[in-house]
């Protein structure tokens, strides 16, 4: 029981971590590229790294945070323009090759010893150099607290049945939420939306009740950065919701399915694709900025693997859906930690040592990615009839 509680606590912590939120934002951007428009962007980590560099380098060199944000977004914008201009008129796999190469070039340049004064070369930029202007904005005060002080230990001394019952209800709520999202129209009308909201809030409260997460209020990796990160995830989700239900979003889906048809209707396909590439890239840059806030800018931690993880998260949640990226990112990180802890707890060290549990969890990620694409390409929330991989 305690081991399970420990594993679930770990998953909860990971699901809630600001880096999960950061990847969720990057995946929201990737969803605009790959999910809605069908652009095979294999360099989302490049957009993230550029955002992070723009932000961190500016502040490190004593510029205000707003300028840092502008530099981060500006770099991603220019990157998108440079990559898109030559490739968006070519077949889809050229964009893939060019984006993945360009993202690597950025990483190589970033880790170059020549630019040590700017990028800190392979060592990167330590968070302490740029974080203070962000934590300085915090109105959370100092010290630490648990989000909901009332938790399972307060009911019947944390007896096993309380927790098991709680887990059952939590799972039920999640299932109901997912089913409603899958059916579509979950937000049509106030009553529906209110029900969804209520379920969501109840679910979150229940989770915090079952898995109390204490954290610093502000600190390096405290509630403040979590609050901002998840707030941004909500905001980005809302922006994407506004975008894709508009005629612009309709155009994106049209382009994904058949560019020539859209062209024959007098739409400037190149321009729309470019807009999508830029918007998704800006989300990527924002994700990158959030990603480095509680950590440091490490070029090697933002390489191809990160892009591949983004794809995994996107496909788990469901490409071309509004909530798929967030759901996918949370599941991806929580499940990986769950696998790791479970392996560590139940597999004897002689078979799998602590180091190997980490690798084992990534092996599972790789295999899971293959299985999802083969057997359930629409992911958890997607609609099979709408989703087409057309490149």
């Amino acid at each position: 029981m305690d081991t399970i509680q420990l594993i679930l606590n770990g998953m909860m912590r990971e699901a809630l971590s600001p880096q999960t939120a950061a990847v969720a934002i990057a995946v929201i951007g990737l969803n605009i590229h790959f999910g809605f428009t069908g652009l095979l962007n294999m360099g989302q980590s490049g957009f993230m790294l550029l955002g992070a560099y723009g932000f961190a380098i500016s502040i490190w060199h004593d510029l205000p945070m707003v300028v840092g944000l502008l530099f981060g977004f500006g770099a991603a914008l220019i990157f998108a323009l440079i990559l898109g201009a030559p490739t968006l008129k070519l077949r889809g796999d050229y964009l893939a090759i060019v984006t993945i190469s360009a993202a690597e070039i950025i990483r190589y340049v970033g880790r170059s010893a020549l630019l040590t004064d700017f990028t800190g070369s392979a060592q990167g930029i330590p968070g302490s150099q740029y974080r203070s202007s962000f934590t300085g904005l915090s109105f959370f005060g100092s010290g630490s607290f648990t989000l909901i002080p009332f938790n399972y230990t307060d009911v019947a001394d944390g007896a096993a049945w309380v927790r098991v019952l709680g887990w059952a209800i939590a799972i039920a709520i999640v299932v109901v939420l997912v089913l409603r999202l899958r059916r579509g129209g979950a937000f049509n009308g106030i009553a529906q939306a209110a029900l969804m909201g209520l379920l969501l809030v109840a679910g979150v409260f229940l989770l915090f009740f079952l898995f109390p997460v204490p954290n610093q209020r502000t600190g390096v990796n405290g509630w403040w950065v979590r609050f901002v990160a998840w707030g941004l995830v909500l905001l980005c989700t809302f922006v994407v919701y506004l975008l894709v239900r508009s005629p612009w979003g309709r155009l994106l889906r049209g382009i994904r399915e058949d560019e020539d048809a859209i062209r024959s209707l007098g739409k400037n396909v190149f321009s729309i694709k470019m807009q999508a590439l830029i918007i998704g890239g800006l989300f990527g840059a924002l994700g990158g900025i959030v990603y480095v806030l509680p950590a440091s800018v490490q070029p090697d931690s933002m390489g191809r693997s990160l892009t591949f993880f983004c794809y995994t998260a996107l496909l788990i949640g469901g490409a071309a859906t509004i909530f798929g990226p967030v759901l996918g990112a949370v599941i991806f990180f929580a499940a990986r930690i769950g696998i790791k802890y479970t392996a560590a707890a139940y597999v004897p060290d002689s078979i799998m040592n602590n180091q190997q549990t980490e690798q084992f969890s990534y092996i599972v990620v790789g295999v899971a990615l293959m299985l999802i694409v083969i057997f359930r390409p629409q992911g958890i929330l997607g609609n099979k009839r709408e989703l087409r991989f057309n490149v």
Binding site: L40, P86, T87, L90, R91, G92, D93, Y94, A96, I97, V98, I100, S101, A102, E104, I105, Y108, V109, R111, S112, A113, L114, T116, D117, G120, S121, Q123, G124, I125, P126, S128, S296, R304, S305, F308, Y311, T312, L315, Q355, Q356, Q359, F360, Y362, I363, V365, G366, V367, A368, L369, M370, L371, V373, I374, P377, R388, F389, N390, V391
Partner: protein, 430 residues
């Protein structure tokens, strides 16, 4: 400047070797510096010329807060120093303490300690006095051209297969590079650990890799093709496979570099060219195998069938070619070639790691795209160009850090003016 670049090239070439030695002989350091999280950091390095390590040299390290310390390099040329503050540190060689035949052009180097709790590597640039006198820019060019050809040939072995797979199935196989790693790692297990002779072990490695290709197509790719999975979906499947394989290697071998043979390679010198005997053999094998593949593609029945499928699968199938059989063969051969490439790569660079494939994956893609997607001979040409660019660009003044970036940049620029690649047919694009 020129000498500096030469030193840099040398340092880069020797990096795997250094890593290997340092991992194998940790106790050679006189006093070990251990960085403690949030308290101390280490600056460490090995002083070596192109010929040998240099012991008993005095180094002065100065840094923030009036930090100043003197260290002497150990028996193996190693030195380290512990610091307690992040910031910029200057490491200066006391030139008087250098042996007579060793000189330095840059006695000072600035090291940025970003955070505490880590070890920062510092490379000091020293060389033997005679080295600079004999080494001209032209000689460097010749040497790096040979190195570039060597890298290009090894890349070609892997990328011809990648290109054939793309040609016959339309699939960009992201897991191809893991097959390269597999060749090296199998070599480690069979030859280094298993004690097989290089030839027997090598043949076994290629056979096993060929089998993995056959097996992959049998259990994975053919069923998926039958299922009618789109190319994008298939490509993401290869990404998943690549992730899983990488971490499998790390699971079994760990993050260290492993070697195929235990003893150090012997070196031959031809005029300005210094090259290990293993490299010569590796290049010879590559040329023979590539020629054989080229002959098979052009002259044999099955080779022509392969090119026909590559050209137009539907038409090929209609004219009685068993495309499934051809594709199965392509997978088998491609994986065997990739495995061979990995084995030779491990021999030439003196080691292989779980992520070696990941490092060269983009070079493979660059080679294939540069030559023209799906054309086997284009891949050969592209690989040679990429190999040469990677090795020669540092000699021509490109900072060593950027040598891979240069290759990728050339790829992107070429795609802008000639998207079909060097040998591709224009109709394939668009």
């Amino acid at each position: 400047m020129v000498r500096g670049v030469a030193g840099l090239v040398l340092a880069l070439l020797l990096t795997p070797l250094i890593a290997l030695i340092s991992s194998g002989a940790a106790n050679a350091v006189d006093t070990l510096c251990l960085a403690e999280a949030d308290k101390t950091a280490c600056i460490a390095g090995t002083l070596r010329t192109e010929a040998d390590v240099v012991p008993d040299v005095t180094l002065t390290i100065t840094g923030p807060g009036g930090f100043s310390e003197e260290v002497t390099t150990g028996e193996t040329g190693k030195w380290n120093v512990q610091v307690t503050e992040p910031g910029a540190y200057v490491v200066k060689i006391d030139e008087d303490s250098l042996p007579d035949d060793v000189v330095t052009d840059h006695p000072e180097v600035t090291i940025n300690v970003g955070r505490l709790g880590a070890t920062q590597a510092a490379t000091l640039d020293v060389r033997t006095g005679s080295y600079s006198a004999e080494s001209s820019k032209f000689d460097e060019l010749v040497q790096s051209t040979v190195n570039g050809l060597r890298l290009g040939l090894l890349l070609a072995l892997a990328s011809v297969g990648l290109s054939l797979i793309y040609g016959t199935t339309g699939l960009s196989n992201f897991a191809h590079a893991e097959q390269v790693t597999l060749g090296g790692i199998l070599g480690y297990y069979l030859i280094n650990r298993g004690g097989l002779s290089l030839i027997v072990g090598g043949i076994l490695v290629v056979v096993i890799c060929a089998f993995t290709g056959w097996f992959q197509d049998r259990v994975l790719w053919q069923p998926l093709r039958r299922r009618g999975l789109g190319l994008t979906q298939l490509m993401i499947v290869t990404i998943g496979l690549s992730l899983a394989l990488q971490y499998c290697y790390q699971y079994f071998v760990g993050a260290r570099t492993v070697r195929v043979v235990q003893d150090n390679p012997e070196v031959s010198t031809f005029g300005p060219i210094t090259i290990t005997n293993q490299s010569i053999v590796a290049m010879a094998i590559s040329v023979v195998v590539l020629a054989a593949v080229g002959y098979a593609l052009l002259r044999t029945r099955i080779g022509r069938a392969t090119r026909a499928v590559s050209d137009n699968p539907a038409l090929a199938a209609a004219s009685g070619i068993d495309t499934d059989k051809v594709i199965r063969l392509v997978w088998t051969v491609a994986m065997a070639l990739a495995g061979l490439s990995g084995l030779l790569y491990a021999l030439v660079t003196n080691g292989i790691k779980w992520d070696t494939g990941l490092q060269i994956l983009l070079l493979l893609f660059a080679a294939v795209t540069l030559g023209g997607l799906g054309t086997a001979f284009g891949a050969l040409l592209g690989a040679l160009i990429i190999g040469l660019v990677v090795e020669i660009s540092p000699v021509l003044g490109m900072p060593g850090d950027f040598k891979y970036a240069t290759a990728l940049l050339i790829l992107i620029l070429l795609l802008l003016v000639r998207p079909q690649g060097l040998l591709g047919k224009p109709q394939r694009v668009g």
